[in-house]
């Protein structure tokens, strides 16, 4: 039992912090708005800079240009990036399709895509969700029909983050409509510039454009873009989701919000002329939130530590995602309560406190409990996988 990182890990964390302080714009508070030109440019610049330091794919094996970095080293990376609200941590390429290709890809696929991902030279997006599927991902309907040396794709994907910025999509398609629903699915790689691919923006309720609907109208994709075996796409595709479920990003976002709120409480004066941080009811709630964050952080570390042991306890990943999103939400909710009438001034308003960030973040992170497996689904998984309760 040892509740501290190694000296080397701590040194890495401190180098990363120095790097971020240098690379991010002065007074950077984030988060980045990737739909803006400046935001996207910063994302690109950061990604390249991370690649140059060898950090972008440090979790990859050396043979693919990585450093075989441990899961724990990796989680430090994710934690610091999220805490600093730093863009450029390209999860679709480096965390999702990259590892999938290493395991399931052909030699051609590996040599074609992996170097580009490692260099930060390509943006991927993930085509899984569909308009009618929701949590029942496996009910996806987008069809791909083999036609000579091509697949012809028809259908629609939704909630596709960064599709408007992406060069490539890895997507799940139905290749055998007669098989049981999990057995007729395949994974394809699609160039976003292929004729018939259309991207329409979906604005989220925080006001930013991060999602899209992507429609496929007789889109022809070379057959060699099949990843893994035909009709084995469910297994290939699900190997990606384990990453999505780690809660460290939410923990770090929550920690950052907590730190900002704590500073606000030290700086602002309450009705009695004392700093807000002297009010027992505020101290109490802030302490509670700190406990919630720390608990969620340890669960996220546990996920990483387990991976390092070669285990992948699915229930702990669910616990981590669930706890992280809740902790982050709790901090933001309390922030809005503390900010009172200032909490509902939108960012960009004169007089808004903390730049109106808390309102925007609260609206944005509503998605945390919905995307990549709702809180309800996580609880089901904990009950089924962790506790082996009966599914009826």
């Amino acid at each position: 039992m040892r509740f501290e990182f190694t000296t080397e890990d701590e040194q890495f964390r401190s180098e990363l912090r120095t790097f971020l302080a240098e690379q991010l714009p002065d007074g950077w508070t984030g988060p980045v708005d990737e739909s803006s030109k400046d935001g996207w440019a910063l994302n690109q610049r950061m990604r390249k800079a991370l690649a140059a330091r060898g950090w972008l794919v440090m979790h990859w094996p050396e043979q693919y240009g990585g450093q075989d970095a441990s899961s724990l080293r990796n989680i430090i990376f994710a934690e610091e990036m999220a805490y600093h609200r730093a863009p450029g941590n390209d999860r679709f390429g480096t965390r999702m399709i990259g590892p999938v290709l290493m395991f399931y890809g052909t030699d051609e696929q590996k040599s074609k895509y992996l170097p580009d991902i490692a260099a930060g030279g390509i943006q991927w997006c993930q085509g899984y969700s569909e308009p009618d599927a929701g949590s029942d991902l496996a009910s996806l309907k987008t069809r791909a029909v083999r036609d000579g040396d091509k697949f012809i794709i028809n259908g629609a994907k939704i909630w596709t983050s960064l599709a408007h910025r992406a060069d490539m999509m890895f997507m799940l398609v139905r290749t055998d409509p007669d098989a049981p629903k999990h057995r007729g699915i395949s994974m394809l790689l699609v160039d976003m510039k292929t004729p018939g691919v259309e991207v329409r923006p979906i604005y989220n309720m925080a006001g930013s454009h991060s999602f899209n609907q992507v429609t496929f109208d007789d889109v022809a994709v070379p057959a060699e873009n099949l990843v893994g075996d035909l009709n084995n796409g469910w297994r290939v595709g699900m190997s990606v989701l384990n990453y999505e479920r780690s809660g460290i990003d939410y923990v770090a976002w929550g920690q950052r919000a907590w730190d900002e709120l704590a500073q606000f409480c030290r700086d602002e004066t309450g009705p009695n002329g004392l700093p807000l941080s002297a009010d027992p009811s505020i101290r109490r709630k802030m302490a509670e939130l700190d406990v919630e964050i720390e608990g969620a952080r340890l669960l996220a570390y546990e996920v990483a530590w387990s991976q390092q042991q070669g285990e992948a306890p699915a229930d702990v990943a669910s616990m981590s995602k669930l706890s992280g999103t809740l902790a982050n939400k709790s901090v933001l909710d309390y922030g809005l309560q503390l900010l009172g009438m200032y909490g509902v001034l939108e960012s960009g308003s004169p007089h808004a406190k903390l730049q109106g960030r808390f309102f925007k973040m609260r609206m944005f992170y509503t998605s945390g409990e919905i995307l990549a497996g709702t809180t309800e689904i996580q609880k089901n998984l904990i009950a089924w996988r962790g506790l082996e309760l009966p599914r009826v």
Binding site: S135, I158, N204, M205, V344, P350
Partner: protein
Amino acid sequence: MDLGFNETEEMVRASAQEFLEREAGPELARSGDADAFWSKVAEMGWPGLAVSERYGGADMGLVALGVLIEQWGANLGRGPLFEFSVLVSPLLEAAADERLKKEILPRLADGSSSAAIAILEQSASWRPEDIRATAVKTDNGWAITGTKHFVSYGDEASQILVAARTGDRPSDVSIFVVNREANGISSETVNHASGTPTTVLTFNETTVDVFRIVGSENEGWPFVEALMQKGAAFRAIQLAGLGRHVLDITAAYVKERKQFGVPIGSFQAVQHHLADMAVSVRRVEQLARQAVWSVAESSPDAAKQVSRAKLAASELIPQVCWTAHQCHGAIGFTQEHDLHLYTRHALSWAVEFGDTAAHTDRLADALEL
């Protein structure tokens, strides 16, 4: 004890529901342009619903007004109905100079002009010592100087109710009705989460006629107190209406939306989410109606009931909205979907007329803690 609506109340409820479901709602909330809607509201006679007949109102009382505001909340009614009918008109009727009343009340009651309130300052606090704007006596009346924050409809209104310091004791505050066209008023727009047009108004030696003071010099604070209490009670009932509506659309959605081959409303986790929402909404409805009734009847328990209602509404209705988001899944997270409009209003109303900290303290006082 009668938890039902009497004939008048039911009439108001039914006509408000019918009208607002047709004319207001998300589309109006998005459009930003509410002039045409406001004309229709004026035709309904709603600004004057609780105004005495002698000033052109319908004199139907505050409880009926509460019924209206509940529906107004459910359908995101737009325009300064709340500001005038809940806040300004009772105060003017109770304490303003007859000349002022005759001059402005009829035009406010028929909706041809509108009113706003400018009380809070940078502190956003409802305590008399935090009123820093000053009113200084001049030959003809008063000159007001200071900056007021969170003024809803501050640019649209023709009359602004202003609280200003007129003496040195903390409670030496007076209330004035300032013509929006008067000299020295400048405004700055802020973006409010609810979309309600909101300004910061700065008064620079703005001249106010002597008959435009409400009540006596240095005696204005009790009026502000009364106004804050009414505001809190009516925000609570407005939140109740909103919560009921969000519950309704969510229940409808989970009956329709299918996943894993069945409506998601057949999953026990979803059913329990909805049940929790239903309990919250019902509790807030009853507490808020009780608060409005207590204020209307000047019940000795009014202070308690108002703070209870406001605390419950401010905590539970935003929670109802978040649970609704959870039940809607990704679609409810989009700008295109209407749900977030309700959430934005709920979050906004929750902090107005005393936030949780303020009402907690008031309630604890009233409970002799």
